[in-house]
């Protein structure tokens, strides 16, 4: 039994790495990593980055509004949804505007945009049609991203002009029937031939653009003979052209939402791939996949900012005009609570997205926890926003013509693809805990000879105790970056950061290496980390707005206060769940699941009508 558990944890470890390729850094200036140590790492968060001068702001707004108008004027979101396809006129518009290759360098036919610029542009599709966002997003955020960030110069010159113009569509082929969250388990194989080329065989499923793409980034196992004569499979990335021959695809999948984007199975039968089409080296496939996914993840958060703004406009307009009980419904507390919370969450979500995009533009090495937090956060806040919009609109919101039910269907996938939120939470929690574990390692070592290391150990213990009692906190470290109007909030967030650090270290000391099997705990730790990051991002954003000449200063303070109040409840709520009592609750749930799976029927309760007791 013990052995089984150990094996499980090894696989899981890979799974968690699957969501973020980077090894745990010794010391990081990442804000989220720092949180686990109770530290405020200001580098990529305080003060809120000011990326552009006025002229560049005007320019970006000009590009945004030109594209928004053209998109809005050409696209028929509901038509696309019904047809399950994109109108050729719309595809042409996207091509004319260069929206298939926003980040491809200008000299290779793209728009040469930074991550921040692309994030802003992504809001358009997010607001007007998420199906189109995926149509162009899967193409450039993951489809040909490996060529863009890891390809050779020859590869770039050969492929990027074709894909940037939208003349050829690109697709990212990782998922297989047995390869979901566990990305390292692909079965597709590419065997080296005598002439140096590779022969690929296998099949991929749920490939966005699979039926319309001509250029594929494919992950396959390359068998390599080891020094001891055994054969070992090494995952490797290839660029495959449909024109190589042997590439076929299945019928478009019927799915819940994002219907105008094509999703299909892709098969590779004896596809001959020239050696120069390998990305990186043999065995680097996993790394390539993770780099691509990490760098693409922020785009989803950015897109969903637009979605949230569109929904807020719809819900607010409805609430401002709808009369019931002789009053506009926005006058009622039940509606105010929804609208205000929707906006506060959008404000936080946007604050997070642009921090991540900016960190990436500055070539920050460890941004993957922030990117993961941003993806989880945006996809869940957008879902909540849509759910509440429908609730505000009542029956009207449920109707197809209003377009909101489509948004809800489109949104559902964002919590699943490009790393499910569950896997990403485990990644955030475990990598963060592992990071703080490394900081604890010298202490553990010192504890082996306590007398010699008495001063170190005593200082550590005293620190620990002060933090537990709340007499030593991160409050002042945080407050220095925050506008006085938000000092009460900074105070509480600072205290929560320290509570979080103490809680993290405690469960780490309790479970040690077995923490990898404690998903109930890790999930709560991750939840608190995500909220602490979001609240800090909000503090930073609202502070920056106080210095901006034309910002709605009071309103931004109100948004920040509203968000942080809710967020603190979530943080403490999550940390409250790490007690002994909760542990017996987790045990109950584990036991219940076991019984459900092993019973004849998973529904275990005797039916109420059958409860005969005498």
């Amino acid at each position: 039994m013990k052995r089984v558990i150990l094996q499980k944890s090894n696989f899981l470890k890979q799974g968690v790495r699957a969501a973020g390729s980077k090894p745990i850094p010794d010391r990081s200036d990442s804000f989220v990593f720092g949180l686990f140590n109770g530290e405020i790492n200001p580098k990529n968060i305080f003060p809120y980055p000011s990326v552009f001068n006025q002229e560049q702001v005007d320019e970006l707004n000009e590009l945004f509004s030109a594209s928004f108008d053209a998109f809005d004027g050409t696209n028929e979101a509901l038509e696309n949804d019904l047809r399950g396809d994109l109108d050729p006129e719309m595809v042409q518009m996207l091509r004319d505007f260069g929206l298939f290759g926003m980040q491809v360098p200008e000299e290779l036919g793209g728009l040469g945009m930074s991550n921040v610029q692309m994030a802003r542009m992504s809001e358009i599709g997010g607001e007007l049609d998420l199906g189109v966002s995926i149509y162009i997003g899967a193409h450039q955020s993951i489809g040909f991203k490996a060529i863009l960030i890891l390809g050779t110069q020859e590869m770039k010159e050969k492929y990027l002009p074709l894909v940037a113009s939208g003349e050829k569509i690109a697709a990212f082929c990782l998922t297989e029937p047995s390869t979901g969250s566990d990305a390292s388990s692909v079965q597709t194989r590419a065997v080296k031939q005598e002439d140096g080329s590779y022969l690929m065989n296998g099949g991929k499923i749920w490939i966005t653009g699979g039926g319309i793409a001509d250029i594929f980034t494919v992950f396959a196992q390359v068998p390599v003979q080891q020094e001891d004569g055994t054969i070992k499979d090494k995952m490797t990335a290839f660029i495959v052209e449909r024109d190589f021959g042997g590439v076929t695809h299945g019928a478009p999948e019927k799915k819940m939402g994002i219907k105008c984007s094509n999703t299909a199975e892709v098969y590779f039968d004896d596809v001959r791939i020239p050696a120069e089409n390998m990305i990186g080296e043999v065995g680097e496939g996993f790394k390539v996949a993770m780099e691509v996914l990490n760098s693409g993840r922020y785009g989803m958060g950015a897109t969903l900012n637009g979605t949230q703004k569109g929904l807020i406009k719809k819900a607010t307009e409805f609430a401002a005009n709808r009369t019931q009980f002789r009053d506009k419904i926005y006058k009622f507390g039940a509606i105010q609570e929804k609208l205000a919370r929707m906006h506060a969450e959008q404000y936080a979500s946007e604050a997070v997205s642009y921090l991540v995009a900016n960190a990436m533009d500055h070539k920050t090495e460890n941004y993957h926890l922030e990117a993961a937090c941003g993806k989880i956060f945006a996809s869940e806040r957008a879902w909540h926003c849509c759910d509440e919009t429908i609730q505000v609109m009542g029956g009207m919101g449920y109707m197809f013509e209003q377009g909101v039910e489509k948004v809800m269907r489109d949104l559902r996938i964002f919590r699943i693809f490009e790393g499910t939120n569950d896997i990403l939470r485990l990644m955030v929690g475990l990598q963060g805990l592992q990071y703080t574990g490394q900081q604890l390692a010298p202490i553990a070592k010192a504890a082996k000879s306590p007398i010699a290391n008495a001063p170190t150990l005593i200082k550590f213990k005293m620190d620990q105790r002060a933090k537990e009692k709340g007499s030593k906190t991160a409050v002042n470290d945080l407050k220095q970056y925050v506008d006085p109007a938000l000092h009460p909030e900074a105070q509480k967030v600072g205290e929560a950061i320290t509570r979080f650090e103490v809680a993290s270290k405690k469960i780490l000391q309790k479970f040690n290496k077995d923490i990898i099997n404690q998903q109930f705990h890790v999930k709560r730790i991750a939840e608190a980390a995500i909220e602490l990051f979001a609240s800090s991002a909000v503090l930073s954003r609202a502070t920056a707005a106080q210095k901006h000449p034309t910002a709605n200063k009071e309103e931004e303070i109100l948004l920040a206060k509203t968000y942080i109040f809710d967020s603190l409840k979530k943080i403490h709520g999550a940390l409250d769940q790490l007690t002994e009592q909760d542990e017996s609750h987790w045990k109950n749930m584990a036991e219940l699941t076991e019984k459900m799976v092993n019973a004849d029927s998973p529904v275990l309760g005797a039916h109420p009508t059958e409860l005969i007791h005498k």
């Binding site: 000009e62 030109a66 004319d96 929206l99």
Partner: protein, 253 residues
């Protein structure tokens, strides 16, 4: 091949709900979305089509307005115009300008640029004057054809169609001429992102009204701008007799 000048104006976007300033001095323009006057877009499109048909050699787009008008000019360049002329006036000056002053400047530009055709929208959706094209033609002493439904250029003349009550009127006009376009002559293209970026490299000449010899001192005094009156709420009456007596009381019957 001919040279075409086309006038473009930056106006509050057609989709924006216009609000009057509380002091009644005008409408709210700060932080309100602006874009190219839709009829100007149509004029630019018509000019670009002339170029695509190899009839026009060069298109010069011009605008009269504050520094933000540069964006409108850039849209025209992104749609396919070759060069720009920006007559710089500040927002307050622009608000006080009359169509006559605008026409004098437009005429001067058409002359200096040696244009064979001057294309304009039939009106701008902010002032709704619809006078500029006609007055510019008069100042230049060129023939004019306004509110065009179609345009066909034949070298030294043009055949145009105009929408009139009950049908279309076909005219033949000698060039150089001033032409203003109506809604249905074409469907303007969008200025695409790559073209907007390329348009930044196109030349824009900055001039002042004085360079064109036009006095921009205000000649028009706006006394008051007000919202259209709000329709008073109706009243539901119980029966026909009450209705009749109410109408009588109101002096309607």
């Amino acid at each position: 091949m001919v040279r075409v000048a086309v006038g473009v104006k930056r106006v509050i976007d057609y989709a924006v709900k216009i609000r009057v300033k509380p002091d009644g001095s005008g409408v709210v323009k700060d932080s309100v979305k602006h874009s190219m006057n839709p009829f100007c877009e149509i004029a630019v499109e018509e000019a670009v089509r002339l170029k695509e048909k190899k009839i026009a050699k060069e298109i010069v787009a011009f605008t009269i307005g504050p520094k933000q008008s540069a964006e409108t000019l850039r849209t025209a360049l992104a749609m396919g115009c070759d060069r720009g002329v920006h007559v710089n006036v500040d927002q307050a000056q622009l608000d006080a300008l009359t169509p006559l002053q605008i026409s004098k400047m437009a005429a001067k530009i058409a002359e200096t640029e040696a244009a064979d055709l001057l294309l304009m929208g039939k009106l701008a959706i902010d002032g709704d004057y619809g006078q500029t094209a006609a007055m510019t033609a008069a100042i230049l002493d060129w023939p004019q054809a306004t509110n065009l439904y179609s345009l066909q250029h034949n070298g030294d003349s043009a055949t145009v169609e105009r929408e009139i009550d009950g049908g279309l009127e076909t005219n033949e006009i000698k060039t150089p001429a001033v032409l203003s376009v109506d809604l249905r002559i074409n469907q303007p293209r969008y200025a695409t992102l790559p073209n907007i970026m390329k348009a930044k490299k196109k030349k824009v000449k900055a001039v002042k009204p004085a360079d064109l010899g036009v006095d921009v001192a205000p000649t028009l005094n706006v006394i008051k701008v007000a919202e259209p009156p709000v329709r008073a709420a109706g009243e539901i009456v119980e029966d026909v007799d009450t209705l009749i007596s109410k109408l009588k009381d109101a002096g309607r019957i």
